[in-house]
């Protein structure tokens, strides 16, 4: 088990190196760079010398190979460089916003799991009743409703019902939990809906599948209480695939946050990413891409490991 884990961990290295190489060269294909956006973005005339000087300061005038080596060496020593726009270390730019985004992501996961598992289970057990139909409609809708639109609807709802909008300045959870939750619960709900829909659909279909298994029939035949048949025999097996989806969706939550943070005016990772893209801030884009990809790859790995822990049939060598 440990050997398998280490092996898998080593296998992520080539993928991440591939990401690093790809993102570096893909970004350098762009005509124009951060200097132009920064100095000429507002349409003002700026002398060519000023532009060249700024390029020189940021190291953009050096040969591509040299820049690439710097980037890779930096990565190997876990140094992501400094933002070309703000001159602050990339790590700091990300760190100051990570707390907020991570909290929204975790809350969205909680919302999703707490809603999805009971919903999916109820739909599977009461198959083809009105409860099942309601769950199916609600979950199919969840895949169609864009999270940023749902966020806007929530805002409209809050505004018309209570004439109140969530605060826009971030208060850390440990400082003032009430103010913190008042701000972040709404975006968590907006991104959590889709998440819940995906998980609930999976729980429903995998529970339906498990309920057809021979061992469920055996359990029922020997007179095990239905509650135990479902709780102990069926649900435990049905939830396994759900773990995978919960994990993968969590890793991809940043995708939902990119747009939703804009709606709620949250200063998080997603907003930072959009900003860095529209500013051509290469170092910051590279750093964030690496962070997102590593996070995804690691969550993926963790999910596989959890799978082996929960399902003794899957034991690797």
């Amino acid at each position: 088990m440990l050997r398998y884990a280490v092996q898998r961990l080593l296998l992520t290295v080539p993928t991440l190196i591939g990401v690093a190489v790809l993102v570096f060269f893909v970004l350098r294909v762009v005509p124009g760079d951060v200097v132009e956006v920064k100095l000429r973005g507002d349409g003002g005339a700026v002398a060519q010398e000023t532009i060249e000087a700024e390029r020189k300061r940021l190291g953009l005038d050096r040969p591509l190979a040299r820049q690439f080596v710097d980037w890779m060496v930096g990565l190997a020593t876990l140094d992501l460089g400094t933002s070309m726009w703000t001159d602050r270390p990339v790590i700091d730019e990300i760190a100051t916003r990570l707390e907020l985004s991570l909290q929204v992501a975790i809350m969205a996961t909680l919302v999703a799991v707490l809603i999805a598992i009971p919903m999916g289970t109820a739909a599977a057990l009461l198959r083809d009743t009105w409860i099942d139909y309601v769950v199916r409609i609600v979950t199919i809708a969840g895949l169609a409703v864009p999270s940023f639109w749902l966020g806007m609807l929530i805002m409209i709802g809050l505004l018309t019902a209570f004439s109140w909008l969530p605060p826009i300045t971030f208060t850390p959870l440990w400082k003032d939990p009430a103010a913190n939750l008042a701000q972040l619960i709404w975006p968590a709900m907006a991104v959590g809906y889709r998440y819940a829909a995906v998980v609930a659909r999976l729980v429903r279909s995998s529970l339906l599948e498990v309920l057809n298994e021979d061992y469920i029939r055996t359990a029922r035949a020997k007179g095990v209480m239905e509650r135990l048949v479902v709780g102990r025999h069926a649900l435990r097996n049905a939830l396994l695939p759900a773990i995978t989806v919960i994990g993968l969706e969590f890793a991809f939550l940043i995708g939902g946050l990119v747009v939703t943070e804009q709606v709620f005016n949250l200063n998080g990772i997603g907003k930072l990413f959009v900003q860095s893209v529209s500013r051509n801030d290469f170092t910051l884009i590279q750093g964030m891409v690496m962070l997102i990809a590593s996070f995804y790859v690691l969550v993926n790995l963790a999910v596989d490991m959890l799978y082996a822990v929960f399902d003794p049939r899957i034991r690797y060598r």
Binding site: P14, T15, L16, G18, V19, L22, V23, V26, L27, V29, V30, P31, I140, A141, L143, A144, V145, P146, F148, W149, M152, L153, M155, I156, L159, T160, S205, L208, E209, F252, I254, G255, G256, V258, V259, Q262, V263, F273, V274, V277, S278, N280, I285, V289, I292, A293, Y296, V297
Partner: protein, 279 residues
């Protein structure tokens, strides 16, 4: 067609919705009550009424007309990018399975790398790299940006299906017959990969529409004054939540309905073409 509608009633409903949207999009100039770009300062932020069913926006433009014209943008971008992404993905998947060995390894590594990103992150990077290149009224680079995240997903699924096709005796027969690789892939393997390809193509139209809406909302997709649903939700729509919620509600409903219809159509097609996956 009739058999499909009978076997998949939900699929039939979704097809009907898609058809209505397509007709609305194609005939938008005749169906829409107003010019979607016509500014009318006498009717700024008008609430829904008989004159303006869905109300008007901050420039007095008719929202119903913009939603109808927006269907054009959404469907063209959705269909073209899903077609592009699925086709390239299917080709890569089929080639990967057919050639095996080093080519397979190389393609799979690339797929792994591309899969390590949420689709919107990937699309944003591509948008940043390519900039804008407007052909007719559609941004060709936006289509590429939306198509690229679809490629690895389709490649992976088609590769799995192609592996089993590859093992069929008729492929060996074709190779023994001395046909070229291209001919074998297109004439002998492709027809047997049509089912997964069509299913993915339909399902990813929904994804593409959603992605286009998100990018346009962020200001990195379709640009003003082209009517596009995502774009209609940004800008001054966001400033007037309270006063003019209709600016938010109707374009969002249009996005949801389109994505919903294509998702359902994809599901129905899957159940119909591939009964194995039925739940």
């Amino acid at each position: 067609m009739i058999a499909f509608c009978r076997a998949q009633p939900l699929g039939a409903v979704s097809l009907a919705v898609i058809l209505v949207m397509m007709l609305g999009g194609v005939f938008a100039p005749w169906v829409a009550p107003y010019d979607p770009l016509a500014i009318d300062f006498a009717a700024v932020l008008a609430r829904p009424s008989w004159a303006h069913w869905f109300g008007t926006d901050g420039y007095g433009r008719d929202i119903l007309s913009r939603v109808i014209h927006g269907a054009r943008t959404a469907l063209v971008i959705g269909f073209v990018s899903s077609f592009l992404g699925s086709s390239v993905g299917a080709l890569l998947g089929a080639a990967s399975a057919y050639f095996g060995g080093k080519i397979d390894d190389a393609i799979q590594r690339l797929v792994d790398i591309l899969l390590a990103f949420p689709i919107i992150v990937l699309a944003l990077v591509v948008v940043a790299v390519l900039g804008k290149a407007v052909v007719l009224w559609i941004d060709a680079n936006l289509i590429v940006a939306i198509a690229i995240p679809i490629v690895p997903k389709v490649a992976r699924v088609v590769r799995a299906a192609a592996l089993s096709v590859r093992a069929m005796p008729y492929i060996d027969a074709a190779r023994a017959g001395g046909y070229s690789h291209l001919r074998i892939i297109f004439r002998h393997m492709a027809p047997n990969l049509a089912a997964p390809y069509l299913i993915m193509l339909t399902a990813y139209i929904a994804q593409a529409i959603l992605l286009e809406a998100s990018l346009s909302f962020l200001g990195l997709g379709v640009s003003e004054p082209t009517p596009a649903w995502g774009l209609m939700l940004s800008g001054n729509a966001a400033d007037f939540y309270g006063e003019a919620p209709w600016m938010i509600i109707f374009p969002g409903l249009a996005i949801s309905l389109a994505v919903f219809a294509f998702n359902l159509a994809g599901d129905a097609l899957r159940d119909w073409l591939d009964p194995k996956f039925k739940t």
